[in-house]
Subunit: 232 residues, 2 copies
Amino acid sequence: MSKASSSVDRVYDRVRHMAANFEFKPDERINESALSTALGASRTPLREALNRLVAEGFLTFQNGRGFFCRSLSPEKIVDLYEARQAIECEALRRSVERASDDEIATVLAYLDDTEPHYNTSDSTVEVLEMDEDFHIRLAQLSKNSELVRLLRNINDRIRYVRLVDLKMILAKKQIARNKGAKLSAHRIILNALAARDEKAAVAAMRGHIERRREEATEAVRIAYSQLYVPAD
Amino acid sequence: MSKASSSVDRVYDRVRHMAANFEFKPDERINESALSTALGASRTPLREALNRLVAEGFLTFQNGRGFFCRSLSPEKIVDLYEARQAIECEALRRSVERASDDEIATVLAYLDDTEPHYNTSDSTVEVLEMDEDFHIRLAQLSKNSELVRLLRNINDRIRYVRLVDLKMILAKKQIARNKGAKLSAHRIILNALAARDEKAAVAAMRGHIERRREEATEAVRIAYSQLYVPAD
DNA sequence: GCATTTTATGCTGTATACAATTCTGTATGA
DNA sequence: TCATACAGAATTGTATACAGCATAAAATGC
């Protein structure tokens, strides 16, 4: 049960995390020598990791100029939200066919377990983690590993903006939060799935993501200001 | 207007093409030294290219054992077809909102131009190229570059099976082919888009891809036999 | 003072070397 | 006959060196 992870893997994980959280500023050039020494590896494994991240959409690459952080623009983020709608709605359609009642019940149990914490936690990171986890579990019911893979990739690429968005939401609705009075969006989707009501489930999912998509432009604006203000 | 492509880029293009066409057999191990000399480059740029291809889903990687061709299974291909449905249908929905009449007319003109050749060519490679090109142009109407990017990736990963499938279809319907008598599937989709009929367009697209998805298992079987029979 | 050329610095792109690991084939024993 | 152990070969993983390019800085001309 050992990990036996290579240098590339360690570097990859670390740099991916940095890129996801915009520890490189948008469009910032990445200095390979500096980063490699900072990570305690040589440039060779670092560059291999960077190449993977380019293919995943976390970084860009220009010949002769090196690697750069991806840019951060409302358009790009909206594009990703739309891709997320495509993926998650498709997964849901397949889940209606393929997920057993037991499997759906397991996800429902997960929801029951986490919802109290989800509704009271002040840590946006924790809340987002739970949210992502729910969506992944739901997508896995489709039995389509490609859709799950794509969703994971998209989630990681919009995480920073989602985090900002979530902070925004919590700041606004700090007083009145879902405490079971109203059915949560997640519960509505899952209930529709359990009832094998494809249309209702997909519509709920679409709307659920759509609401965030609409906030994307604003969230990106705030994200920028947050990125370029040194003090937190 | 020079290309100024680096060694990595050249190697990347070449190996990607090889992987797409299963010039490496499914699950086959890739020998880095041999391949690098064959491509006239050293192992360093080759490995960078291989890492990109892993991230894109063309290859897999096992620590300490190296790079392998992706496996070829009906399940994987079905997964990809479903992902394609997700992407293309979403793109179509957005195109209904965003594509101008002129832009749609341009794609229609492309269809008019290519359809004669499309219906008579005996080269499955050519036919598939035209088909992919049409679908990409259509997806671009969505103005969502992420969806286009994903579609390109998926298309390249299922190309080999699609090629086999197409050969199968042409062999069967060799006599009676669409010569304008019946409206082509592409034309139906495009007309619905032009009429801003989202439901009809999406339904047509879904069905269009669904038909191929249903043939996937059979096509994979034939693909296997073709891959492991030396003579063509 | 501004634009332009030249020079210098730093960084990237690739090859190569070598250590570490895995694989293959053979021999040995039950 | 099968399993195991071992030795040699092959292959991968990483560091390092250096050439070539791009960028920044300095110098020159107007």
